[in-house]
């Protein structure tokens, strides 16, 4: 087993933990959707939203890292990152490269627009909650690919 494959499995374990934390935050966030009046939210609600957006962002970022590691293992180009995304689409892990980019922009926008435009921010949060299951699907497909491509190490 190559060092890179070991790293991939380590990342998968890390992502499994991250997914459980994100899932908890998603469960806490969903009852708040859609946010119609930000003034009605309690400090605890704001903390829930903050945790959700951070965990969502980190989960997608780490998904990107594992995708890059897989592309490297498969001797594909990894720069620019769009090469990795196109390869993931080819493997059937992503349905469409554009969707990955849209979700990445959504999370960036949530981080930028914080407290700036409340109506827009509500839309961004709603879109992120709807996008979370897509991240889970892509992660499940990554695991399935790795179990098939790197079986010797598949179950630590």
């Amino acid at each position: 087993m190559s060092e890179n494959v070991q790293l991939i499995w380590k990342k998968i374990e890390h992502l499994r933990r991250m997914r459980s934390y994100l899932d908890y935050s998603l469960e806490q966030t969903l009852p708040l959707m859609p946010i119609r009046d930000w003034q009605q939210l309690t400090p605890a609600h704001h903390e829930t939203l903050a945790a959700f957006r951070v965990r969502f962002s980190e989960f997608q970022e780490h998904l990107g890292k594992i995708m890059r590691a897989i592309a490297r293992e498969e001797e594909q180009g990894t720069e620019p990152f769009s090469f990795v995304l196109v390869y993931m689409e080819k493997l059937g892990i992503l349905d469409a490269v554009e969707r990955w980019k849209i979700i990445r922009e959504l999370r960036n926008a949530v981080n930028h627009e914080y407290e700036e435009n409340e109506l827009r921010l509500s839309e961004f949060f709603l879109a992120l909650t709807q996008a979370a299951p897509e991240l889970y699907t892509w992660f499940d497909r990554i695991i399935a690919f790795c179990e098939s491509a790197y079986p010797a190490s598949s179950h630590p």
């Binding site: 554009e98 922009e105 959504l106 926008a109 700036e116 839309e123």
Partner: protein, 94 residues
Amino acid sequence: MRISPDQAQIICQQIHQYFGDTAAIWLFGSRVIDNKKGGDVDLYVEADPHPLLNEIRCKIGLEEGLEMPVDLIVREPFDASPIARIAKTRGLKL
């Protein structure tokens, strides 16, 4: 300003594609200061209400077309926020 005529054209095409021909565009920030180097392309756009995904897709299209990071702010006409004032008074209308 530190964008080429071709880049300005890409910006206008993308903005009008996603926000309509009446959208007004200002370039502001470091790209309007001639003696600076590099920097994001800061764009302020005044447009009628539009779907969230138009804004997201437009930003992606701009970054791919320009091959530069873009900070895109879209507001409805007559927005009186500080960023609107800064962009429109210190920026250049494209």
